[in-house]
Point group: C2
Chain length 147, copies 2
DNA sequence: GCAGGGTTCATGCAACTGCATCCATATCGA
DNA sequence: TCGATATGGATGCAGTTGCATGAACCCTGC
């Protein structure tokens, strides 16, 4: 196979570094505001968007690109805080649904302004007109099927 | 402060997801080939590029966007494998240099082909002409001062 | 109906990370 | 010079992740 061009390597390096820097900054803003980590928001948001506020763990896994065991434990923590509930799947006792609770919805709504402001500060404010759209398009291609 | 536009949010979401997907895939390729994780490569490569193959931990920290304590322990592991050596700083006994060893250089050279192929497969092959350059440019702006 | 195999989710254990703090050393100011 | 403060790096502990495996359940073919 042909090796990557210099441009590709540069893009890769900056992708890793930009994500680390920006995500770290957003995560830090959330923490400073006394809110839970981003991964909690991601789960809650996925559930809010889903019909009936519930999803199969497997779907969450795919949506959030989490490993099965990581999701399992993340859900443990969310459940312990009363933000989601695991409800049995009628007809298949292996499976289950994860359902957001009222408390979970409330937390997500409380987190959103903090999150949005952090994203604006660390991403929005640094991108010119059209750059955001262009970035999203290219990254979408990079993601290929996975989205 | 004005909230982020939809385009900014989309860019943010894809940035996180793309980095997770691509980085996970590259990391997995390295592991499959029996090589150490990417963080090891990053340190070794930073040292190779530095004059005399040595850097102050603080500089590595900035270059790799690692926390001080994480770098300290990463260096523990690299040192335990004989890939780097901590050498005292003449004139300030608090400080030190991290110096790559021959063994470290050899490992980096062995890792590179595997790494390069993974980057090509998961990044290069998915970007059209000019997209890599465009992506690198936008992400560079996103990084702002930090690089 | 039941043995074998696949699917879904959980968990024991080891490695890694985050956080607070500590230790040793250097620097600054009176 | 000496005490207060700052800096560079390490470390104890708790929380999280990765990996391998396990437990419960479903399904298929015989």
């Amino acid at each position: 196979m042909q090796g990557p061009t210099d441009d590709v390597v540069a893009a890769w390096v900056r992708l890793v570094r930009a994500q680390r820097a920006v995500m770290g900054a957003v995560e830090a803003d959330l923490k400073r505001a006394g809110e839970p980590p981003l991964s909690w928001y991601d789960v809650l948001w996925s559930l809010v968007q889903a019909p009936d506020g519930r999803l199969a763990p497997r779907d969450l896994e795919g949506a959030l690109l989490l490993e099965q065991y990581n999701l399992s434990r993340l859900l443990d923590r969310l459940e312990a805080d009363g933000l989601v509930a695991r409800v049995p799947h009628p007809g298949d006792r292996r499976r289950q649904f994860v359902e957001i609770t009222e408390r979970g919805r409330a937390l997500r709504e409380r987190m959103w302004p903090v999150y949005a402001e952090a994203v604006q500060r660390h991403v929005g404010a640094r991108l010119g007109d059209g750059e955001a759209r262009c970035l999203a398009a290219i990254l979408g291609g990079l993601l290929g099927g996975r989205f």
